[in-house]
């Protein structure tokens, strides 16, 4: 099955990002294709490579990057939402990119499921 994910909250502040990640991992482990994770609202801040959490904590942008590179999951931040929040190409973690809402529409259309995580 092809699954798209829409993530609407930023990292650390809300568990939404953690649940989305765990869900994506579990879907892939079950043999599904996670086509893309689309980031909207504060969700766009998931992909700043500048984050530098404590050593014993998870690195949220790092693990999205890894998910992208290992499993071909597109990690996409909405451009309008990104501009408001100071996310641009210079700070994007490897494997992520900035795109428009049209891409989310494509994701919604081409996948069997779109699963939203928010707060």
């Amino acid at each position: 099955m092809k699954i798209g994910i829409l993530l609407k909250e930023g990292p650390y502040n809300h568990q939404a990002s953690d649940t989305a990640f765990k869900f994506a991992e579990a879907a892939i482990a079950k043999g599904h294709t996670v086509d893309a994770v689309f980031l909207y609202n504060d969700g766009v801040t998931n992909v700043t490579k500048l984050m530098d959490p404590p050593q014993d904590d998870r690195n949220i942008s790092g693990r999205w990057s890894e998910l992208s590179q290992k499993h071909g999951v597109e990690i996409l931040a909405c451009i309008a939402a990104s501009k408001r929040r100071g996310i641009n190409d210079d700070v994007l973690v490897q494997g992520s990119s900035i795109t428009g809402l049209g891409t989310l529409t494509d994701i919604a259309i081409r996948n069997d499921r779109l699963v939203t995580f928010g707060d």
């Binding site: 939404a16 649940t19 765990k22 879907a27 499921r113 699963v115 939203t116 995580f117 928010g118």
Partner: protein, 97 residues
Amino acid sequence: MLHTINKSPFETNTFDTCIRFLVQGDPILLIEDGVYAVQAGNKFSSTIETILKTNPVYALQPDLSARGITLTTDGVQCIDYDGFVALVEEHQVNSWF
């Protein structure tokens, strides 16, 4: 249609609102702070029991464990992320937050 709820029923009206639009037979999955709804013996237990007569209720075990909830209302099914994916295989998803 799978309904997920991630908010504590004590703090916001998300739980009550979702329940109001539920179609008979459709499953509910409680995640994140939403799992407090199924802690055994709290004030939502009777609501959960009523829902269970017409709709299956699931709760995400990792979220229950993280919150120290060891006893859940009878009839609630505790599942892992793997079970979450299985529900998504069967249903389109309506995520309430």
